[in-house]
Every structure is written in C-alpha cells, then in structure tokens.
C-alpha cells in the first residue's frame, strides 16, 4: 500500500511529466512580448518614460555647466541625493539577483515563472545604479582616474571593483539560463529573420542533451554560489564608503549588514512590483499566481523586520552614549523627522500589516506593500545620508541640503529608466524561463516540489544519453 506521501509524489511526477498542452501554453505566454506587436499603451508608456529620461540627461548637462550647487550640493551637504540613488538602485538589483540565486540554490521549483523577470530587473537596475555615480561626481571626466591612479586605501576604489565584478556576474547570471530558451525562441519567430538569427547565435546551438543540461546546471550553481557573497560584498563596500569616514552617524560597525538587509528588503519589494506589472501587462495570471506574491511577501516582511531591528540597533547604540547624537535628534524630532517617520509607517508598519492581514495577502496587497517599501527605503537612504553629512564637525552651524529641479529630474530619470529598459529588454527576451517552466510542470511552477521528485521527472523526460555521451 502506498503511503499518502508517496501518492503525492507520484501525483507530482505525473503532473510534471511532459505535457504537450502545458508546453505550448508556456511557450505562447513566455513569447507573448516578442511575437505580438506592441500595442498603443506600450508605445505611450515608452514615449513618456523616454521623455523623462531625456529630461534627466538635460538636467545633468545643466548641472555639468553650473556646478553641483545647481543640484543642491554645497560644502556641507557634500553627499546627498545621488549617492542615495546609487545605494538604492544597486540595492534593488542585489535583491533581484539574490532572490533568484537563493531560490535556485534551495531548489524552490515555484521560482520558475519569476526568475527571468527578477534577473532582468537585477541587470537593469545595477546598470542604472552604476550610472548614477556620474552625476554624483562633480567632474565625471575624472572617473577614469580611479583605474589609472587607484588608491587602494580608499573604499571608493573597492566600490568600483565590487560593482564592476557584480555587474559582470549579474550579466552572466542573466544570460546563461537564457540559452535553452533562445533555442526554443528561434523556432517560434519568423524563420530567417533578424531575431531568429540573433536567437540562434545566443542559443549556442543548444539541443537540451543530458550533458548540456548537467553542464549548465553545474555552472549556474557555481554562479549562484558566487553571486550571493558578491552581492553582500558590494553592499558592504558601499556601506564602508560611509562607515570609514570620521562622521558621526556613518562611522558605524552595523553599517555593512544594515545596507545588505536594506538592499534585500527593497530588492524583494521591487521584484514583487516588477512581476505584478508584467503579469498584468502580458496577462500571465495563469502562471504567476497569488501564491507567488504571498511567498515573496513573506520574504519581504521577514527582511523588513530584520531591517527595523538594525535601524533600532544603529540608533540605540550611538544614541545611548550621547557623545555625537546631533544626527539622531535631527532624524527623530528635527528637520528629518517627517521622512524618517514616513519610513517607519509606510516602509515598515503598513507593508508588514498588509502581509499579516489575510484580506490583503494577495497579489494586489503585496504589490502595494512593495511600492511602499521601495519608496520608503529610498527616503530612508536620504535620512541616513543627509543628517550625518550636514552635521557640523567644526563650526557648530548645521548645513542644509535643498532639493532642486536638477537633482529631482535626474533621479526621476533613473526611476523611469527601470521600466523603460525592462519593457525594451523583454521585447527581445522571453518573459519566463521556458526551460525551467517545462521542467517543473504546472504544479511545480506554483508549489514546492522536492529536488528528488524533479530529478526523477527529469530522468523520465530527457532521453537516455548515448554511450558516447555517457563517457
């Protein structure tokens, strides 16, 4: 007599066995953004977003001509909105990559419909975050000095090295799982066309043999293993750009984990928002269900609690000593109290409540929570940066930073560039990982299926290798 567990496993194997209707449904849905011509709404959105990006570039040119003061910077507010943008954008990228890597390493089969979008989001946001270093530099033409004359005692050099390494890893992590899909995609677009040729090159002539799959699986495991500590190192080094200065409010040992958790928290939130937008835009409800959002919501809430704990730990430790507490007073009750308490309410209490309440534990509720977290965490970065930067060390006179149209336009351009680049990217790339979706089947793409079950199904669905191949 078969036990209930065995029965369930057998059912799962049956469910993930090759299913022609599932296969065709997955292919049609994943290729929807490529094969269908973009509608009016797509063009309107792309045009509006492009306008914002162009306006941002114009504002940056104005800033280059008129100096950093035109963006609100001065000798006291020497670091402000742009470094917050760098930290926030690279942070969300980290979240996208790590969410995908962790789910891949832990064999979560339900990740299948989500990985492509989160890896794409990670790639796009790291490029935008990296680009924000240029407006942050008053003299961007000096950027190459960091390569030509590196000062290895400066955390900024290590920032550059870490971000460059992470960008490379993210690009590879995005491309490799794409290879099997490109092999499928090349047969689904007009034969002999430009796209078919491009897909054919990118597919590397993939045939899906057992050896090829084993190779790709091994390499992806290695890269997933590398990308997690790499992303931790990127955000640790970013935090040391602050923490290794002699400024109260920045010179904190808690900063590396504080930054890493903030990145994961906001990154998971942006994964939720991205997935919701593409699910709605391309009608992927059949594949990306409420259960996916709820699971991501749980992850986000857990990270939110850890981040709240680190925020308290940071303020309590320094506030209790009472030596350099000006920035804490400014943050809690002074000039920065409104943004700080906005973060507490909109970035912690409300999102966690939305996850906890059964009524709001669905795709919409989690997306609202995600939007709130992304906005609040950007504001939180401003609250971390400005009070400490403007706190007087010499004269007793607080500095001040004022947002100007230049800094606001440049920042909005970065925000607009995320959906813009994602919309363009997914005109050429399948929305979901076809290969992974077919591998795990309809049940596996929603529920968690054990590695062993998946392995058994894989054995069943992939033809036995020839003797030559087995060698």
């Amino acid at each position: 007599m078969t036990s209930t567990l065995e029965k369930k496993e057998i059912e799962q194997i049956t469910a993930i066995a090759p299913d022609p209707s599932w296969e065709s449904e997955v292919r049609e849905a994943a290729m929807r953004s490529i094969v269908t011509k973009p509608g009016k709404n797509w063009w309107i959105a792309v045009s509006l977003l492009s306008l914002v990006v162009v306006a941002g570039l114009g504002a940056w040119i104005y800033q280059l001509k008129h100096g950093m003061n035109s963006a609100g910077y001065n000798d006291q507010a020497f670091w402000a909105v742009y470094i917050a943008d760098v930290v926030a954008f690279i942070g969300v990228s980290y979240g996208g990559a790590v969410v995908s890597a962790i789910l891949r390493l832990s064999g979560q089969s339900w990740r299948a419909p989500l990985t492509r979008l989160s890896e794409g989001m990670a790639l796009v946001t790291v490029l935008i975050g990296g680009a924000f270093i240029f407006p942050h530099l008053g003299r961007p033409e000096r950027f190459l000095n960091i390569v030509a004359y590196p000062n290895f005692s400066s955390p900024l050099v290590w920032d550059f090295i870490a971000i460059a390494t992470y960008t490379l890893a993210t690009a590879i992590f995005f491309y490799l799982p794409l290879i099997p899909d490109m092999a499928v995609a090349k047969n689904l677009v007009d034969k002999g066309g430009k796209r078919a040729r491009l897909f054919s090159i990118l597919s590397l002539n993939w045939m899906g043999t057992k050896k090829q799959r084993a190779l790709l699986h091994r390499v992806l495991t290695v890269i997933s293993l590398i990308i997690i500590p790499l992303a931790v190192s990127v955000h640790s080094v970013l935090s040391w750009a602050f923490a290794l200065t002699s400024r109260p409010g920045w010179m904190e040992s808690v900063f590396p984990p504080y930054f890493v958790v903030a990145a994961l928290y906001s990154g998971t939130a942006l994964v939720i928002v991205t997935i919701y937008a593409f699910r709605k835009g391309y009608k992927l409800e059949r594949f990306i269900t409420d259960r996916h959002f709820v699971r991501l919501g749980y992850m986000m809430a857990a990270l939110g609690l850890v981040y709240a704990y680190l925020t308290v730990a940071d303020m309590l430790t320094e506030g209790y000593t009472g030596i350099t507490t000006g920035w804490i007073q400014e943050t809690l009750t002074g000039k920065y109290a409104i943004p700080f308490w906005f973060y507490v309410i909109a970035g912690e209490i409300v999102p966690i409540a939305l996850v906890v309440m059964k009524k709001t534990r669905n795709a919409k509720g989690m997306t609202v929570a995600g939007v709130l977290v992304v906005i609040s965490l950007w504001i939180k970065r401003i609250v971390i940066i400005l009070p400490a930067a403007t706190q007087p060390l010499i004269s007793g006179q607080w500095g001040s930073y004022h947002f100007t149209w230049v800094s606001i336009t440049v920042t909005l351009a970065g925000v607009a560039a995320i959906p813009l680049l994602l919309m363009i990217l997914f005109r050429f790339i399948p929305l979901m990982s076809i290969d992974e979706m077919e591998e795990v089947g309809p049940l596996g793409s929603i529920e968690q299926i054990s590695k062993e079950t998946l392995k058994a199904a894989r054995e069943e669905s992939i033809p036995e290798p020839s003797k030559e191949e087995s060698k």
Partner: protein, 178 residues
Amino acid sequence: MKKLLAFLLIVALSIFGSSLALAAPAASFSVTQGSGDSLNLSGSCGVGNCTSATFYAKSNQFAGSNFMQIGQAQANSNGNAQISYTPTWTGNTPFKVDFLGTSGSLVATQTFTFDVMKDPSGFPQSAIEFQRPLDSTGSILVKALLTIVALVWITLLGSFFLVVIRVPKLSKQASEEK
C-alpha cells in the same frame, strides 16, 4: 560776466549739495578673520528698511561660477547684519551679501574678496588626510583582496566561456551520433 560766473557757480554748488543730501548711504560689506578658523561676515545695507541679509561664497568645488548660499541673518534697525562662517577651503574667495526689504525684494548687494589662509583646524588633520599605510599589513591585505577579486573574475569568465565553448561542441557530438 562775473555775475554769470557767480550764478553758474552757485547753481553747480547747489546741484552738488543737493545730490549729496539726497544720496542714501552706500551698502557696505566686509569679511574679517574671526576667532579660530571662523570668518566674520558683516554688512550694512545703508538704509534702515532692510530686514534680512543672505550671505554667499563662491567656491569652484560646488558652485562652478555661481555663488552658493552660506547663511542668513536678520538685519537690525540700523540695517546691519552679520554671521560667522568657517570655510572648508583656502584661497581667494569672493563673498557676497544680499540685503532684502520687508517685501522680500532686493534692497542692496555688495561683494568682498577675502583670502582664506587657514585650513580648518577644529577637526584633526590626521583624521582627514592621514594616508592609511600600504607598506605592511595594508599591503598584504590589498594583495589578498586583489587575488580574491582575480579569482572571482577567472571563475565567472571561465564558467561563461566553458558554456559558450562546450555547448556547441556537445550539440555537434549529439548530432553526429544521430
């Protein structure tokens, strides 16, 4: 003729005198070294109807060719206002003051150039400029970190090229077997 000359002289003196009487006292502005590293910026709008003064400095580092605001002060009943400011740079620095009236309109403006000689000493120089040593432990740490970075790059690129090279080869093998 003498009468005409006398008349012209009287007219000229009258015009000069009346212009002297009508002219408002000019706005003044000066920058002096204060205690420690601070500078005293004090100005007078010359008339009693200005309410506040905004002070600016021109620093290439932040404002390009523009003035950047460094402080504000209320003007007293005589139109005088002053602030204390500690610059974080040295060199010939143009300062400016704008006196504003009750409606917020600009009443007077003056500039003054002051050669800032002293680096701020309120914060220990060592903490700002101290170069972390790279000749002993630091040097070993840098080498170790660069080695790790190199290994990561080799692994990433190696994995990438392994797939790019091996996948087409395996496909070729499989097709030949068929």
